[in-house]
Symmetry: C2
Subunit: 423 residues, 2 copies
C-alpha cells in the first residue's frame, strides 16, 4: 500500500454535502492503508463568481492580481475539506500551492509548472496526516508571486505532485464514470474505456475529448504516473491511463480507442496565394507572431494555369479575430486575393494505436461518413489518428456513424480487439 494522489474537481465539492461525501471517500483510502495526498479545485461556481466580481471593478483584470483573486477559491475548498476529514476523526492539513512547493514560471493566468518541491507535504503525510493541496495554483520561481495554471490546472497539479512524491497512482475524480469511446451526450451507446495508453489519450485530448487535458496526460506520460479517471459519485472502477494495463487486470485494447469531436474551432482559408517559396512561411510567421495556435493545415495543389494556391488551417474560434487581423497586415507583402473565415465547422477524429497495423481503418472511416451523407472538407492524419473537418451541423450524425462502423457501440459484438499489454 503506497502513496495515492486523489484529485477532486469543483463539481465534486460544490457544497457542504459534496465536501462531506468526498471526505468519507478520502478517509476510506487512508483506512485501506494508503498515504493520501488530495488535490482539490474551487467549489462549484466559485471561480466564475470571482471572475464576475473582478469584471465589476475592472474591465481588464490584470494578471498578477487576477491570480491572487482566483486562488482564494481553492483556499476555501481545501480548508473546508480538511475540517470535514478531521470531523471524521482523521488528521488532515491543507496547503496552498506555494506551501506544497508547486513552482511555476511567471506567466500569470496560465503558468507552467517547472518544479515541485513537496518537502512539507512529505513531512505532513509521514506524520500521519492526510495532506490537502490547492489545485490550479503555484508560486513563481522569480518574484515569488502567486500564479494560476489555467483551465484544467488542478489535474496537472495532481499529476505533478504524484510524480514528485513517486505515487502509485493519480486518481482524478470527476462527475463522469471515466473516459468514453465517444461523448455519451452525442453517442448513447458510447462505452467506458477500461484502459487506454498515454499515447491514445493524448490524441483524444487534443481532438476534443474534455475529460483530461493534454498537458496533464503529457506530464503523466513523461514521469510514467498511472492515472485513474473515475466518478466521485460512485464506487465504480473508471478508466486507467498508463503505459500498460495495471497489475493483473486483464484488459483488451480495441484497434480504435474512441471517436472525439470538437466544435470549438474555426477554419481560415487564404485564397490566391502565389505558389512560390516563402509565401506560406510568411503567412504562418504572421500567425505565430500574433500568438495564435493553429491545428490542421492543408495547402491545395497549385492550379497550373494561375500559379496560385489556397491555404486552409483551423484554429480556436476565440483566436479568429486576432488571426484575421494579423493576416490582413501581410496582404500587401504576400499578395493573396482574399481571406475566408468559417466558424461553422466540426472536427471529427478517430484515435487508436491499432490503426498502425490495420490498413483498412481509413477506408472504413471515410465510407461511414459517406454513407451518412457527411461531406469531408479537410483531412489530417498522424500515426494513430485520422481527423476530418465537416460542417458543424453534421457532427452528431457523423460521430454516431463512425462509432457504429468500428463496432464501438455498447451492445455491439463486432468490436475488433486484441490482447493488449501495451504496444
Amino acid at each position: 500500500m503506497g502513496l495515492v494522489v486523489q484529485k477532486y474537481g469543483g463539481s465534486s465539492v460544490a457544497d457542504a454535502e459534496g465536501i462531506k461525501r468526498v471526505a468519507k471517500r478520502i478517509v476510506d483510502a487512508k483506512k485501506n492503508g494508503h498515504q493520501v495526498v488530495v488535490v482539490v479545485s474551487a467549489m462549484g461556481d466559485t471561480t466564475d463568481e470571482l471572475i464576475d466580481l473582478a469584471g465589476q471593478v475592472s474591465p481588464i483584470p490584470a494578471g498578477r492580481e487576477f491570480d491572487m483573486l482566483l486562488t482564494a477559491g481553492e483556499r476555501i475548498s481545501m480548508a473546508l475539506l480538511a475540517m470535514a476529514i478531521k470531523n471524521l476523526g482523521h488528521a488532515a492539513q491543507s496547503f496552498t500551492g506555494s506551501q506544497a512547493g508547486v513552482i511555476t514560471d511567471s506567466v500569470h493566468n496560465k503558468a507552467r509548472i517547472i518544479d515541485v518541491t513537496p518537502g512539507r507535504i512529505r513531512t505532513s503525510i509521514d506524520e500521519g496526516n492526510i495532506a490537502i493541496v490547492a489545485g490550479f495554483q503555484g508560486v513563481s520561481q522569480e518574484g515569488k508571486n502567486i500564479t494560476t495554471l489555467g483551465r484544467g490546472g488542478s489535474d496537472t497539479t495532481a499529476v505533478a505532485l504524484a510524480a514528485a512524491l513517486d505515487a502509485e497512482v493519480c486518481e482524478i475524480y470527476t462527475d463522469v464514470d471515466g473516459v468514453f469511446t465517444a461523448d455519451p451526450r452525442v453517442v448513447k451507446k458510447a462505452r467506458k474505456i477500461d484502459w487506454i495508453s498515454f499515447e491514445d489519450m493524448l490524441e483524444l485530448a487534443s481532438s476534443g475529448s474534455k475529460v483530461l487535458l493534454h498537458r496533464c496526460v503529457e506530464y503523466a506520460r513523461r514521469y510514467n504516473i498511472p492515472i485513474h479517471v473515475r466518478s466521485s459519485f460512485s464506487g465504480l472502477q473508471g478508466t486507467w491511463v498508463s503505459n500498460e494495463p495495471q497489475g493483473d487486470r486483464k484488459v483488451e485494447q480495441a484497434i480504435i480507442s474512441g471517436v472525439a469531436h470538437d466544435t470549438s474551432e474555426a477554419k481560415i482559408t487564404v485564397v490566391g496565394v502565389p505558389d512560390k517559396p516563402g509565401e506560406a512561411a510568411a503567412i504562418f510567421r504572421a500567425i505565430a507572431d500574433a500568438q495564435v495556435n493553429i491545428d490542421m493545415v492543408v495547402q491545395n495543389v497549385s492550379a497550373a494555369s494561375t500559379g496560385l494556391t489556397d491555404i486552409s488551417f483551423t484554429l480556436p474560434k476565440t483566436e479568429g479575430p486576432k488571426a484575421i487581423e494579423a493576416l490582413e497586415k501581410t496582404r500587401a507583402g504576400v499578395g493573396f486575393d482574399s481571406l475566408r473565415y468559417d466558424d461553422q465547422i466540426a472536427k471529427i477524429s478517430l484515435v487508436g494505436a491499432g490503426m498502425k497495423t490495420n490498413p483498412g481503418v481509413t477506408a472504413t472511416f471515410f465510407e461511414a461518413l459517406s454513407d451518412a451523407g457527411v461531406n469531408i472538407e479537410l483531412i489530417s492524419t498522424s500515426e494513430i489518428r485520422i481527423s476530418v473537418v465537416t460542417r458543424a451541423d453534421d457532427v452528431n450524425e457523423a460521430v454516431r456513424a463512425v462509432h457504429t462502423a468500428f463496432g464501438l457501440d455498447s451492445d455491439s459484438d463486432e468490436a475488433v480487439v486484441y490482447g493488449g499489454t501495451g504496444r
Copy 2:
C-alpha cells in the same frame, strides 16, 4: 510627504461600488505625493459566510484549517482593490500577510504579531506601486502556517505595518466619523473627539468603546504611531489618537474624554468565603487556570460576627459557564457558601486624564447617577478612569446623565477644557 498606511474595514469594501470608491480615495493620497500602503479587511459579510460554511462541514472547526479558510476573505478583497486601482491608471500590488512579512506566534484564530519584516512592501512602494496588504492574517514563525489575529486584527496589522515602515500616520477608515464622547446610538448629543491621547483611548477601548481595539492602540502607543480614525464615506477629519496633538492643529482636551459602556459582562459573587489568608488566592487561581479573563474585583469588608466575606468580580458573559464550573470544583477546598451569577449588569466608565487633577470628578459622577435614580453595585477606579456596575436596564439613562453632567453634550457650553499639549 511621507508614507501613509490606510486601513479599510469590511463595511467600506462591502461590494464592487465600495471597492471603487475606496480605490479613488487611495489614488488621491498617492496623487498628493504620499507613498501609500493599504491594509484591507474581507468584504462585508464574507467572513461570516465562511464561518457558516465551516459550521456545515464540521461542528468544531479546527484552528489551523479555520485560519486557512478565513484568510481567503482578504485575498479576495485585496486583489479586487488592486485591480480597481490599476483601472484608475495607478500601479498596485497586493500581498498576503505572509508576503508582507507579518510574523506571528502559533496561536491559531487569535495569533499575536511578534515581528514585521516588510521587505517586499518596501520594494513595491519604492518602485512606485501602491501596496495592498491583507489585514487580519500572518504566518507563524514556527511551522510557517497561516494564522489570523482575531477580532479587529486588521487594525493591528495596519498599525504594525505603520510602525515597521516608519509611517507618518496610520489612517483607520471605518463607517463612523471617529471616536465619540459616548456611543451615538445611546447619546444623541455625543460629540466627535478631535484628539485623544493614547492613554485615554486605551481606557475607552477596555471600557466598551468599539471603534478601536485595545491591542491596536497599545501597539500604536508602544511605537508612537499616530492613528487617524475617520470615515471612508466622507472627507471629514476624524479623531486623532496620539501622544500629543498633531502639528499646528489646535486641540483643547476636556477633563473628561468620554463615557463608555459595556453590556457584555456578567458578575459572579462568591458568597460566604472564610476571611483568612489564601482563600481569595485559591479562588482566583482556579479562575486563571480555566483561562478566564476577569475585569473588576471587589471584596466586601468581612462581617466580624461570622468571619465570612463575599467576593464579587466581573467577566465576559461568554466565559461565565467556564468560570462557574471552575469555581464549583474549589467549593470543598475553599469552603464558601454559594455562587451567584448575574448577567443583567452593565458597566459604565468615565475616562479622562483630567480627573487626576480635578478632585470633584468622582463626586459629580456619583451625583449624576444618583439624580438619575441609578443604583451602583460595584466601583473600580484607575488613575484616569472610574467604572461602576449598574443594572443593565439602567445603562442608557445612566450614560446620558453622566454625559450631560460633564458638559459633553454637543449643544452644551459647559464643557470644562484646558489647552492640551499632551500631559
